[in-house]
């Protein structure tokens, strides 16, 4: 029970930190941090223990914030987060992810930046922007955003990214060149249905066994891949809706992932029948189990955004999600039962769980 847990919550009004212990019952809330800046994503650099928060101010532009004392004090940098004076301005940061030898930031308009000095300076990964499909990229409802970054666990040259209404790409040479990874993924809104690119990926995660095993929640279904995204197999059957945003993977069991189906965009993007539930699979998506115990089962017109679900690494695994109406829920038993951890927060854009000590 020595472990300390921190839940890192990104919102349009800054970062909030909830601190607790391994019992995962009592939480102390701090915030808003980062001067109240809109923050889309918060992560932990496992090497240094530093928190990294990505977002953008409507007045002062994009930045990556960094804290080495669990959010007590912060520095920030937007140095290098630019496409150059001839390019479009970078509006905000949507994802910050730590790889073996670098930190990556996904931004709007869609592009990828890399830092090799802990987030103090950033460099544009031009290879992705130079992809031949780039002139045809079109924004989705949330904008033209690079929101998912999946580093390979052992090969620093390999990386997957997800871009809304564009799809998944992979590099195997450290970002110099990229290939589309959308084969088998539907785009119901596209005349081809299975185009090379243009799929509206909402979230990509890697399974616990790493390497080639990926899952994605898409605008048009849920998918798995066992070959690094070269081919995707749909695993939507058994879920109440093909639409949703968040997805998170078990830290040790590669066949367990969680997702939160939502009603389709034209029907409101809330939990089906206004009854809150998280769905999990233990068999790689062959079947799904609904879990709503402890969650509001009536009149719950709530949604969850792509980055707003996370797991910890304890035994059993804790699962957490934040709603777009400011409730933070947690489960200490791998999603079997749930409890409200915090209420009346700003809309929750991201949740991350960090174990310390």
């Amino acid at each position: 029970m020595a472990e300390r847990l921190a839940l890192l919550v990104g919102t349009p009004k800054g970062v909030f930190v909830l601190e607790g212990d391994a019992r995962r019952r009592d939480w102390a809330l701090r915030g808003p941090l980062c001067e109240g800046w809109p923050i889309h994503d918060v992560c932990v650099d496992p090497g240094s223990g530093a928190l990294l928060a990505g977002g953008g101010s409507p007045w002062y532009g994009p930045a990556i914030w960094r804290s080495e004392d669990l959010g007590e004090t912060w520095t920030h940098s937007g140095e290098g987060l630019t496409y150059g004076d001839d390019g479009p301005g970078v509006k905000t940061v949507w994802n910050v992810s730590v790889a073996r030898d670098a930190i990556y930031a996904g931004v709007e308009p869609a592009g990828l930046f890399q830092s090799v000095d802990g987030g103090r300076t950033w460099a544009h990964i031009e290879g992705l922007t130079n992809h031949p499909t780039r002139p045809e990229w079109q924004p989705g409802n949330g904008g033209l955003i690079l929101h998912s970054i999946v580093p390979h666990p052992t090969d620093g040259n390999r990386l997957w990214v997800g871009i809304s209404a564009v799809g998944v790409f992979e590099t195997r040479d450290g970002g110099a060149t990229w290939e589309t990874r959308n084969h088998g993924v539907r785009a119901d809104f596209h005349p081809e249905v299975y185009p090379e690119f243009g799929q509206c990926v909402h979230k990509v995660v890697m399974a616990a066994d790493g390497d080639e095993h990926l899952y994605q929640q898409n605008h048009c279904g849920v998918y798995r891949s066992v070959d690094g995204g070269r081919h995707w197999e749909e695993i939507t059957a058994g879920l109440p809706s093909q639409f949703g945003f968040p997805m998170t993977a078990h830290p040790r069991d590669p066949r367990t992932v969680w997702t939160i189906p939502l009603t389709p965009p034209e029907l409101g993007r809330y939990m089906p029948e206004a009854s809150a539930a998280v769905w999990r699979t233990h068999d790689g998506g062959d079947s799904w189990v609904r879990s709503g115990e402890g969650l509001p089962q009536r009149n719950a017109f709530i949604g969850v955004l792509r980055e707003a679900m996370a797991v910890d690494s304890l035994h059993p695994v804790g699962v957490y999600f934040g709603t777009s109406t400011g409730q933070l829920y947690g489960s200490p038993d791998e999603g079997a039962t749930w409890r409200l951890l915090a209420d009346n927060l700003p809309p929750i854009w991201s949740v991350e769980a960090a174990v310390a000590g």
């Binding site: 002062y60 532009g61 004076d85 301005g89």
Partner: protein, 93 residues
């Protein structure tokens, strides 16, 4: 010996100064245009240029800069001793 031009007086908003712990709200900077003032300001407060300017470079959409009370662009001349106000626009949210 020629007398140095009187510096402009730059007034910074609280929300911007909060990002740079040692920066004052009022700071003297020499420059004959707003662009030069911003460059000089960045020497005294490293990183502040990135917060003020977007690609182009242009002043960020939701920031306004006034020189002696008149709205300015980066090309606007800054007379000696002028007051330069940086003010976040209410359009920012």
């Amino acid at each position: 010996m020629a007398e140095s031009p009187r510096p402009a007086i730059v007034h910074l908003p609280r929300s911007l100064v909060a990002l740079f712990p040692d920066a004052p709200r009022r700071i003297e900077v020499t420059g004959v245009t707003v662009a030069e003032v911003v460059d000089q300001l960045d020497r005294q407060v490293p990183g502040i240029r990135t917060r003020l300017l977007d690609a182009g470079p242009v002043i960020r959409t939701h920031l306004n800069v006034f020189v002696a009370g008149a709205r300015a662009t980066l090309e606007t001349p800054v007379p000696p001793g002028a007051d330069v106000h940086v003010i976040p626009a209410v359009s920012g949210g």
